[in-house]
């Protein structure tokens, strides 16, 4: 079993709507993959199939297991947060920990208690008494106390304030992630996670339009601040996108070498979100 996740020609149809079109993707151990796409692009559909919450056509294996057929087995090895604040409202913190301990072979109660001791969450709190941010903290504490090979986070911080979001990803990176683990994240707040990603996957209308690691991205996409005198020349190199800031043109290029691009102006690493916007527009054009 070489890949943590491997998908070959994965398709999913809802009636006439093709939600996933021939998705081919492999994810290896030790990666933090950002799955990025506009609303309705098929991110959630793909993740649902990966997590065994829905069926799909094609060859999909997670840790060598068919997710939909053997979801319960798979969940011993992977865990996920599929939305913010999905912990049941009526349950007490102590109860949710006890339940997880009794049902999950790789859960450490001690570790969860240790994570929670750093927060304001008390054991006899009910989930409905916690704020949205605290609920997310609790869920993260549970998930981080599970010794899983793959962690899937689908919009884990939606609707939380910036302090919670930052802390969430800090905890994830510092207290959880190591090279034995793999994380898949989807979020709309790309800027906040791009520094922790090792790979990005762009998905659009059910198709994978980009699957690359961050190093590849920085060596083939360049953002250049072009001054007025180089404007015409820059245009001839066919920029992917162009925007105007303070009289200067910021252009995004896809190029195999940095040399030519450097003559046009100051070169920067493009942000994932700019790149995302550019690639989405390119597909449409």
């Amino acid at each position: 079993m070489s890949h943590i996740l491997s998908a070959q020609n994965v398709n999913k149809k809802f009636g006439n709507f093709q939600a996933l079109k021939n998705v081919n993707i492999n994810i290896d151990k030790g990666k933090i993959v950002g799955l990025i796409g506009p609303n309705g692009a098929g991110k959630t559909t793909l993740l649902k199939s990966v997590l065994g919450l829905d069926s799909c056509d094609g060859e999909l294996k997670v840790l060598g297991i068919d997710p939909f057929k053997k979801r319960a087995d798979l969940m011993k090895e992977i865990c996920f947060i599929a939305d913010v604040a999905v912990l049941p409202k009526w349950i007490k913190v102590s109860q949710v920990l006890k339940f997880t301990e009794q049902t999950h072979p790789n859960f450490s109660l001690e570790q969860a208690k240790q994570f929670l001791s750093r927060t304001k969450i008390k054991m006899d709190h009910k989930v409905k008494e916690l704020s949205k941010g605290m609920t997310a903290q609790l869920h993260l504490a549970i998930v981080m106390s599970i010794n899983a090979k793959l962690l899937v986070l689908d919009e884990p911080t939606l609707g939380l304030d910036i302090l919670f979001r930052k802390q969430f990803y800090d905890n994830l990176l510092n207290d959880y992630f190591d090279n034995e683990r793999t994380i898949i994240i989807t979020t709309h707040q790309v800027e906040e996670i791009e520094h922790i990603l090792t790979d990005v996957v762009f998905i659009r209308e059910g198709e994978i339009v980009l699957d690359a690691n961050m190093d590849e991205l920085t060596s083939s996409y360049f953002e250049v601040m072009v001054s007025q005198e180089n404007y015409e020349e820059a245009l001839s190199h066919k920029p992917l996108t162009m925007r105007k800031v303070f009289g200067k043109h910021i252009m995004l290029f896809n190029s195999t070498s940095r040399d030519v691009i450097e003559t046009l102006g100051e070169v920067q690493r493009p942000s994932v979100s700019d790149l995302f916007v550019a690639l989405m527009q390119e597909e449409q054009a």
Binding site: D54, A82, D83, Q95, Q102
Partner: protein, 315 residues
């Protein structure tokens, strides 16, 4: 690691109010009614007969043949027990209706499904809660309620110089509690098709499981009736309604489930049945083959509920 125990405990945590508080509150109501009745009688007694009625009543009790006191106590314990059967059925009706729907409505299914628990285990834990653990809790609560009632009654007897041990406690028959618990299990057998249908409705429904659970059978029954009325000119063929009514009647009142359903062969006189005969009668009722058709229906419905549960994640 003890998945199934954890699942059952989970149901108890979530439904403690319905399973534990409901029967205890009914027990408290009994005691309140007893006290109100006593105080009212006592007040009138003071005015009308100078307290003599209660005094004579107490003396009469001490000289009454214990056989009759026992009969009265049995009647009290069994009628209150049958009330608990009705309440248990109603509690379970709504428990099952929400059991595979509520977690989809609030999204918490995405947490439950992130744990290594199969949908088969989940659905089975709900069913087992309904047919065994909720009845067990209800039995314990019935016993507590009865004991609390008898303790209060003892105090009232003592207050009037009557020995509660010879008059009351010596005549309490523990078999009545056994009859209640056996009644619960018989109830579960009769109600199994209803429970299975509720699980399926709860698992399948996208918005209102109650409407699905109640109106679909009603519509099917109505269409069946019309079909027979229009094409066969048979206005008496109520088929589906009769079957549903049959199961519902037996499962709401398991104590009478051993009795014949037709008016012609009605053979019931409550005072003629001791608690042991009652238990025997309930077992006799299970020889009715329709019980087993009901169980077959339940197995199919539950299997479908599990199947649907795999695909349904949010509403």
């Amino acid at each position: 690691m003890n998945t199934f125990k954890a699942l059952l405990e989970r149901e108890y945590w979530e439904h403690r109010g319905a399973f534990l508080k409901t029967p205890l509150i009914i027990g408290i109501v009994f005691i309140v009614v007893l006290l109100l009745g006593y105080i009212t009688t006592e007040r009138f007694d003071q005015v009308l007969t100078n307290g003599q009625t209660i005094e004579i009543g107490g003396q009469t009790l001490e000289t009454t043949d214990p056989k009759f006191i026992k009969l009265g106590l049995d009647a009290f314990m069994l009628t209150t027990a049958s009330l608990y059967h009705i309440v248990l059925f109603i509690v379970l009706f709504f428990f099952l209706l929400g059991s595979l729907y509520d977690d989809r409505k609030d999204g918490s299914i995405l947490f439950w499904k992130s744990l290594p628990v199969s949908d088969f285990q989940t659905v089975l834990s709900k069913l087992l809660t309904a047919i065994f653990f909720a009845p067990l809790i209800f039995t314990a609560c019935l016993i507590i309620s009865h004991l609390a009632f008898f303790i209060v009654l003892s105090l009232l007897l003592l207050l009037n110089g009557v020995n509660p041990f010879t008059v009351l406690w010596a005549n309490i028959d523990l078999i009545n509690w056994g009859a209640f618990f056996i009644g619960c299990l018989v109830q579960a057998l009769w109600a199994l098709p209803v429970y299975g249908w509720l699980l399926l409705a709860s698992s399948y429904s996208k918005r209102r499981p109650f409407l699905l659970a109640v109106f679909v059978p009603m519509m099917v029954g109505l269409i069946w009736y019309w079909y027979n009325a229009i094409f066969n000119y048979n206005l008496m063929k109520i088929g589906i309604f009769k079957t549903i009514g049959y199961f519902m009647a037996k499962s709401i009142q398991p104590f009478t489930s051993g009795l014949s359903f037709d008016a012609e062969s009605f053979d019931f006189d409550a005072t003629q049945q001791t608690n042991v005969e009652l238990i025997k009668s309930m077992f006799n009722g299970l020889s009715d083959p329709i019980v087993y058709y009901g169980i077959i229906f339940a197995v199919i419905a539950i299997a479908l509920a599990i199947y649907v549960r795999r695909y349904r994640n949010t509403t």
